[in-house]
Symmetry: D2
Subunit: 397 residues, 4 copies
């Protein structure tokens, strides 16, 4: 696969490093940057022959099989439309748009053009995520009741991220897009997100965008997908997910506690752990940052899907749904009440009701709880089916 990279910043470099590692067969062919010298530097660093500041030219190159959009958020649409014009497969970094309208236009354009389009939502491709998702789909957690996805760190690397106009928001758009899609996968992509409640504030930085937010996304089956995002966290990069189901629990920690712990007085010469806030004391590096964040697995899925002519796991439609949820979150943060998720184009299930299990204990009672006490006795807590009265009964002393 020959790839054109649009963008030469932090994320473009991360993508390129991933693609050129571990003897993968896909190669980056060319790079575009608005700034020619940045493009040239990037090309030199990754051994590319082609670079430039004319986006269309880079995209239209007949040798290019696929284009990766690794540009600031406000430039995604333009880049995607250029790929549509050139009929080139396109992979777009997250978030897809700054809002659902932008995302919907991109979605419709690629679908109309019939080109392959993938949504580069890396955190839905980490090995921990993929294995726990498979386990959840196999029923090991029963019905999913609640999920929590958290991403918090001391703030992004590039200036444009901090500017609401260019990025579309603050921590919600930057980090919330990950969290929302993680929860959506665990709860089930076919379950409709119905409404959102969100708190957001600018607690620390001299910016207009929010640097801290908490949101609850309610799904049609009663499940809640919670997101916690912050640019005010101290201590490194906090990436954790939790899932509660009727039959089990999943806890994932993708960064600060992964089985790699290190103490150093700091006498060594350099850089130890990414996004760590110090280089001495107890540090918690990850082994292979790009693998831990899901990049290699994501690109494998994308290119395998392209070759097989099927959809990747994360599509532009997913990106659109995420944007629609975040739109509701922004609204809610202002209106201070739950806001509906507006999805003009909904492709999942409809009309699912919140069902509660009513387990009968016998003809007269529902079972609320059965428990074994420390002394070995067993008791049940029951509810009268008619009167609603609640009582306990020892069934073994």
């Amino acid at each position: 696969m020959n790839i054109a990279m649009l963008g030469s910043g932090f994320i473009a470099r991360f993508y390129a490093t991933t693609l050129h590692a571990q003897r993968r067969k896909d190669r980056i062919l060319s790079v575009y940057s608005r700034n020619t010298s940045h493009a040239k530097k990037f090309a030199a660093d990754f051994g590319l022959n082609k670079y430039g500041s004319e986006m269309e030219k880079i995209i239209q190159d007949p040798e290019v099989d696929a284009v990766i959009v690794a540009l600031p958020n406000h430039l995604h649409e333009e880049a995607v439309l250029a790929c549509v014009a050139a009929q080139k497969a396109v992979l777009c970094t997250k978030p897809l748009g700054r809002n659902a309208s932008e995302a919907k236009r991109m979605l419709e354009a690629v679908e109309k053009a019939g080109i392959f389009a993938g949504y580069l939502e890396d955190l839905c491709y980490t090995s921990k995520f993929l294995k726990s998702l498979a386990s959840i789909k196999a029923g090991n957690l029963g019905k999913i009741l609640w999920t929590k996805s958290r991403e918090a760190h001391p703030g992004p690397h590039s200036d444009w991220f901090w500017d609401k106009e260019q990025s579309g928001g603050g921590a919600i758009i930057d980090l919330g897009c990950h969290c929302v899609e993680i929860s959506r996968n665990f709860i089930g992509k076919s379950i409709r997100p119905v409404e959102v409640m969100c708190w957001a504030a600018t607690q620390v930085h001299p910016i207009d965008a929010e640097d801290h937010a908490i949101g609850l996304v309610k799904y049609e089956n009663g499940a809640i997908g919670q997101f916690e995002v912050s640019w005010t966290f101290r201590g490194g990069m906090d990436l954790r997910d939790e899932v509660m189901g009727t039959e089990g629990t999943v806890w994932l920690n993708s960064f600060l506690r992964t089985g790699f712990e290190m103490f150093t007085t700091g006498k060594g010469e350099n850089y130890i752990a990414e996004k760590a806030e110090s280089d001495s004391g107890w540090l918690f590096p990850v082994g292979d940052e790009s693998h831990e964040l899901g990049y290699p697995q994501m690109f494998s899925d994308m290119f395998d899907a392209m070759e097989q002519g099927i959809e990747p796991q994360e599509t532009f439609y997913d990106g659109y749904v995420v944007n629609a949820i975040l739109d509701a979150a922004f609204l809610s943060a202002k209106s201070k009440k739950w806001e509906k998720v507006i999805l003009e184009d909904w492709r999942g299930d409809s009309g699912i009701r919140e069902e509660k299990s009513q387990v009968s204990y016998d003809e007269k009672y529902y079972l609320i709880k059965k428990e074994i006490l420390p002394n070995g006795a067993e008791k049940v807590i029951l509810k009268d089916k008619v009167t609603g009265e609640i009582k306990q009964k020892t069934i073994r002393d």
Copy 2:
């Protein structure tokens, strides 16, 4: 200290076990239960000479120095008023009332009577909590921005807990009272809780009360105290707190991951870990459950305060504030919007504004972020004080 215990159930036994352990000088003298045979059994188990089903008689006993109210929620007020009538020091289990009105009446009664009154909020007395609170008060975390307190397990032991009328609610009143007071301590008890947003649902059990809820409590200084409570959790008892401040982070785990891990095929003969859901496989017991939950430290503070004629760390006023916050949470769960916390009797600070730090980089710019890149280069992200434009600047290559 001679103590009369009102109640003979799960929590009364926990309190008694704590008080009679570790060579403490305070002793339980007598026990009251609505059911004489329960009182008799309790007295036998703990070596007490006095027991009975007449509450006033037990309380008025001249040998009694202090009364512990360990009764179901709907009986707290009656018991507290009986202590007031008898002019006896009273320690009441959590929550103080089923709602703020009830709590306020108890508060006013004990204050008018001039008797010692303590609020038995054990989780604000765990050793981890006390040490982290001291550290936070010493400034190690800077300004507190957000706290999260979580308590989740598969549901309470006694029937009355599951009945909304007797308990005053479900997981919110049972577990939320802990979480709210933990966060209030970290944020600062003098900071006024202003409004609450809460989601609550009955997801699993055949009951009217909520078995799962998430709430955000907003404080006057802009800090958020989040609570997560559930009776639907699978895997044991999940007790975790988190604090984010401008200068640091605290993560506490009080139950499932405390440095005690055990695997067993299950061939041993008995009971291993409390509230564990199985007795084989990987188990995570705590060493000393009562210590881990703060009971001994709580009673020490209560009786030391009584002897010294000062207030304990947790008072009836605290119990009242907690109830007022939970009242707003219940309202919000129904109205689906933020609800004001109604505190007719507020004794803390007023008029605190949410302040944002605007750190000047130089005359022209505010500093948004300073960072050291992997290659050792240093860059700053700045905001123009006049135009608001955001830009980055490399200050060392």
Copy 3:
């Protein structure tokens, strides 16, 4: 209980702090130090009326019920003999002696005098230890095969510890005494320790004693008790135990990972975590150091046993066995081979053989292993009872 404290240093203060906390009924009455001004300072700090530098006088005081020996190792024997002379109950800090001869003389003296004598081995009283020991005794781990106890930190607080003559050795005598007794409890105190292999070296400090050692203690039933001790560890105080049995595993972490994690930029004003090597970055305090190290539980057992006229869990005999094992360790570190543990006075079981389980699969084969493969198939690995040939057999596809 009225207690005379011999010693006014680090450990004496730790003991006193523990005893005077949590409304315990036992009180320290007096303190002895070789240095009167130290005794006076200690008395002032803990509110004692009596202090002095004449040891016999402090011990012989008729008001004294029990004496705690919290002196440097080379002064234990003299202090214990003075208690014997005064017929006072004596509790001696660890290690009992600098070697087995010294310990044996103390043991014989207290037994001949018929006084109560307790061995203050606090780490055999932590809540985690006590609960896991109970679980192991209940059979949850099957037969114990191997234990490992590890204590490592950057070195002791007082000068005399670093002097081989006064302390009896280095890290082995200081820390190994804990580790050996922990393993002995897990394996079973009635099982005879047979021989020891030990490596020891002075890797870092300009001292004669070892600052790092690893030892293996072999017990008569084939179990191994491993100790790892060091004064060269960087990162705080590492206190971990592991147990492997035929039916299970126990992992205990008593200090650096107990569910209390904290990050701070260091802007607060003071002291956060004991034995931490820094006051910024990620720190791992424990909630209540004295509880986590077993002090309150240890003194409760000692005084309860005294009152009940029974033996405490840790006796002078235990202290003597520990010294005998450490003597063999010192010998082995020099001879570079396994050395016998010389126990002239052995009170446990004798003649236990190392037994191996030979589980029959059927008449022809022993079962080596049964396993379920990822695809659900089941296979067994068998050994021919006659020929000894090993083969595998699929028993379910």
Copy 4:
């Protein structure tokens, strides 16, 4: 790269799965098995056109660029010599030989033939290992004093492993080879391993080989590399490494605690965690087992080295040194004393002495320790350079 796979069992399948994943450009071309039907099945599963039971034929195929030896230990030498005869690059699984003589013959054969030869020591390629090794080489831990590498699980999957003749031993040869090479890397490959002390026993299984062993490898610079290996562990696969240096500490956990925790009541339908001993309760899967164990990184290094004409990180010479150390371990387990490591062919440094740091405090004293007390005071512990006397001195109150 076209690869011939010799072997079709557990490890061959693991290698093949790794190589054909993540869009890698290297492909397996053919497979050899002693049993044609096994070879045929393997070929079908991995989409290979060529398979067979004639090893030479498979190796000599002109299309083959490299041969992977994934056969039982007693067949390594024969397979390597066949590659030598065919002048084909060879990658041999661990351990290289059953003993140092066998390994040395293989080493000499490939060197004489001038073919590329790599030692497939995967655990020296995990991402955590590689990053911590880089950090250690950069000096962040100072001088390495001690390392511990531990591998323990309930025993291997295939019958031949349990047969001493075919495998060369038990847990020592199976797991110890990993541990020894991990420690050797951390301590420095150029430092000569001098002698070994080892305990080994058959504690549980009806076999002749050891199922549990602990060993200490002493290096010329005084560092100790400890290994702990067992086939008797209950609870899954325990893979942990620790490193202590004068300036820091590293703790790695590669399997049971990697940030993936799951509880399930077991109602789901299938296989959750590899080598877990149950499918309900708390489980600790790893995200991507092959990545966590270092396979992809290992093959990348091997093929990159082949293409660049350089040595891979792990060579046949390394395999030979490991075997020589394990030979000494087996000897020591029998002789019960330290045994010399016999290395007829030593290519590292020689004559390194154990050096101790003697830090001067001033003209008169060496510094033993400097510490800050809880009250902020600072003290030093010193040793007189002439008399050797140790004393403490408060340098700030």
